[in-house]
Amino acid sequence: MNLHEYQSKQLLSDYNIPTPNGYVISSLELVKKYIAEFENSAVIKAQVHTGGRGKAGGVKMVTSEIEAYNFAENLLGKNLVTHQTGSKGIKVNQILIEEASKIEREIYLSIIIDNTVSSPVIITSIEGGMDIEDVSKLMPEKIKTTICSPLLGISNYKIRQICKDLEIPENLKNEFSQIVLSLYKLFIKNDCTLIEINPLVITKDEKIIALDAKINIDDDAVFRHPSLKKLEDKSQMSPLEALTNKYDLSYVKLEKGKVGCMVNGAGLAMATMDLTKWAGAEPANFLDIGGSANEEKIIAAFKIIIEDKDVEIILVNLFAGIARADVVATGIVKASKETSSKIPLVVVMRGTNSEEGLSILNNSNLDIISASDLEHAAIILKEKISGGK
């Protein structure tokens, strides 16, 4: 789960990590008030769940009321298109207006879970303010990583080393160390998968401030953080995302695919996509209906697939372990009827209760071709697609 910048900063504040003075607003009327409060020197930032805001024109340093107002007017309520959003863009419902800081130095500071060492890892760089991916390409020696012990936490000697790596001046070491400690605590206590502060700045008057902040929370752990759950901004989801989210389906849309895929199991779903491609067709989506799919979920999954108007055929590949083939079959039949779909289905159905599942499908009036295995399915797909061309 992604937090907005302003939400991330609120969380930082809760842990006594300094952030700029600022206000989140969703109405233009307040711009004048706050730009005045910040004496015509502020930064305005679109609050959207996407990267690349800056390059896409979603962030601006403003130095007059009129500049602030015009910039805000062009953001609020509009869609911001970044390299990550697709051509439709993403709607800006809120903007953050913050007091400008007089920056002396910019530092990069983040914490992630590094799967290769199964531990939280603190990543720092003396080159803050630029994309860390760029730093890692251009000057990898300027990125330092600190592995933390999952059971002991972060030891002081490691924080001292970080201070040294980042050349933190003597008089700011205590404050900086406290920020690292607090950030680590925030990371652990809130089941974060990422906290990225870029840049963390030292101002000309020797204050340390988190100018930007990005926090991701482990979706699997949100259940134990009801207050974080409330921060979820569903307005940032597309209707399709909202639907997959509601039914806890793993769905990834692929551009211009003709073969809709409905599979149980992530690995099999990927393999099914791969096979579709090798059969000469383009998969339209990744869709894993999960282990314990019920009828309702299958119906939702079916609807999500045919929502994509490029889809001409649906490949159902089921190898039932926890999932039961009969339940899936019943769901598919119901969904087809509900939506009056005419899209043909190629079905491979094996595993738990697969005989029952197949018989349910075969006894329905749907346009169904049953395949014995993946290779067989690929052959059928190939025929169908060449035939359709």
């Binding site: 999952p150 089941d191 990834v252 690995g267 990927m270 990744f286 290779e375």
Partner: protein, 290 residues
Amino acid sequence: MSILIDENTKLLIQGVGKDGSFQALRMLEYGTNIVSAVHPGKEGKKFENKIPYFSSVNEAIKKTNANVGVIFVPAPFAKDAIIEQIDSGLELIVCITEGIPIHDMVQIKAYLINKNTRLLGPNCPGIITPESKTKVGIIPGNIVKPGNIGVVSRSGTLTYEAISQLVQNGFGQSTCVGIGGDPINGTSFVDILKLFEEDKKTKAIVLIGEIGGNKEQEAANFIKTHLSKPVIATIAGHTAPEGKRMGHAGAIVTGESGLASAKNKALSDAGVHVVESPAYIGKKVSEVLT
């Protein structure tokens, strides 16, 4: 012979709710020796009128000498169940549960160091050994048959696919192992490859990887230096876009090493027989072994 489980396996099942009891029945049907069940509030009763329930793992082991545990406990409580099983000293724990918070797994992984327990999973389909008719987990018993191929996989259903391919081509399995789709898990490809290398019954190994992480590369390094038996492999996710999570928490391409092509190359370079789709696994095994 087989790896991890065999006719001496005495299984304890923890978490006997809807999914757990369904799968317990499948395990019993297959022939697995389930000796005890742990589920809060059911102590004193019996599952299917024969398997006694206990309120704690320690008590269940004391009374029934279970040596392997399987966990179906829901994700929010899974960490506690895993720790309970580790503390009890079980030699093997198989955790089927999906969606365990990653911070929980980070702690469990650190806690496991220096323990005599092996954890398989979480988010895995478990293990099946056809010869002794023993299964711990959810791999369908009707798709396997006894034989000489060891199967190891990050994916559940894809494992079934591969097994099915093997059987179609006339090959049975020594043991099939799903290590699970989470980025942090208890047992790696390398751990299982070691066991298959030592297992006299196993003549060849099928390895099924997927995008994300670098576990396939680790496996390739190990195969190159330590493995004498032929390995046939396939990687799922060639068509997956970068930066998107493909269902499994671990299946996301975040760097060069996460790409299916990089994994294919590492495995090929290590002398592994790589096929483009699990659909061709069976044929390739035929080719390699004959």
